[in-house]
């Protein structure tokens, strides 16, 4: 496995570890916790979101869409550059072979 493979495994382990060691936790969002602290102090928000996803399903749809759009572009970019640099490497090899063919 390459260096990046090892790094990705470590990242995955760090993400999974809390699920294993703190099995009973709620895993709510920290943003929501901060909101809760402010609510407890009796604060009334003075502005409402213009639009809210009508359900948890729609919200997860939009979050998935956000991740998919980003990951799609990221994959397109890396694939494009990798293809280009490999094509360049092949061209170099061919030119070298041609030079040696003339020896």
């Amino acid at each position: 496995m390459g260096r990046n493979g090892v790094l990705l495994l470590i990242a995955a382990a760090i993400v999974v570890l809390p699920l294993v060691v703190t099995g009973n936790a709620e895993f709510g969002g920290s943003d929501g916790q901060a909101q809760g602290v402010i609510d407890e102090a009796g604060y009334q928000p003075w502005f409402e979101p213009l639009w809210e996803p009508p359900s948890g399903e729609i919200e997860s749809l939009l979050f998935s869409l956000q991740a998919a759009l980003g990951a799609g572009l990221l994959g397109y970019y890396v694939g494009l550059r990798r293809g280009r640099s490999e094509a360049r490497g092949e061209k170099r090899d061919r030119q070298r072979d041609e030079v040696h063919a003339g020896d």
Binding site: V37, Y77, R81
Partner: protein, 220 residues
């Protein structure tokens, strides 16, 4: 780090928006110059934005038993300098405010200040200081500390707006940091690792763009 819609008093919301605006304007001009001088790096610029798009969508569990998300702004800050991320990060925050009711329009300035301005500036500063220790060490520290800095700024913003009745700003800061900062540590490490992985790929396949950008950094 998202302060929810309406959760900053109007005067705070306005102040953070005013504070953030010049950085966004500078970022727009900087992007214009990069696109003009080095059009070959345009796609990499978009990819830096895409990285922030992915990472800020991922809610990741932490050892504290709650979830938070990385920011993804360190990559673009290291490659293009901090100002471009003021724009790209704000676009991410605007998307989330309008479509996900995550963050908000009234808190966009404050959220942009933490995630799209302080985070990238810390990442860029750390990168400048530590890149001498090796590319991966510098990138890892830059992305991880930029991520942590974002959440510390959010804690400061909330503590300023909601000081504790008994212990004041300091007490409130400890309270908000205890929610955000500890949760964020493993996520900052994950963001550092993922950013190193992407930079490794760039170093392998995008040498031309990276050398154009090294020139950009030198010319700044």
């Amino acid at each position: 780090m998202h302060i929810m819609e309406g959760y900053l008093p109007p005067i705070h919301a306005l102040a953070w928006t005013v504070a953030a605006a010049p950085f966004v304007v500078a970022g727009v001009r900087r992007i214009g110059r990069i696109v003009e001088d080095h059009p070959e790096t345009k796609l990499l610029l978009a990819t830096s934005g895409a990285f922030a798009f992915v990472l800020s969508a991922l809610k990741i569990p932490s050892v504290t038993g709650s979830c938070s998300h990385p920011t993804g702004v360190g990559l673009g800050a290291v490659l293009f300098g901090p100002n471009v991320m003021a724009v790209l990060g704000s676009i991410v925050l605007l998307f989330q405010a309008l479509l996900l009711a995550h963050g908000g329009i009234t808190t966009l300035g404050a959220n942009a200040f933490s995630m799209a301005i302080v985070g990238p500036w810390v990442a860029w500063g750390v990168w400048r200081l530590t890149s001498g220790f090796g590319r991966s060490v510098g990138v890892f520290l830059a992305a991880a500390l930029g991520n942590l800095a974002t959440y510390c700024v959010t804690s400061v913003q909330l503590a300023l707006a909601f000081p504790d009745p008994a212990t004041g700003f300091g007490g409130a800061l400890v309270k908000f940091l205890s929610i955000f900062a500890v949760t964020q540590v493993p996520l900052a490490i994950v963001e550092g690792i993922l950013t190193v992985v992407v930079v490794n790929l760039l170093a392998q396949y995008s040498r031309d763009e990276l050398s154009a950008l090294a020139f950009l950094r030198g010319a700044k």
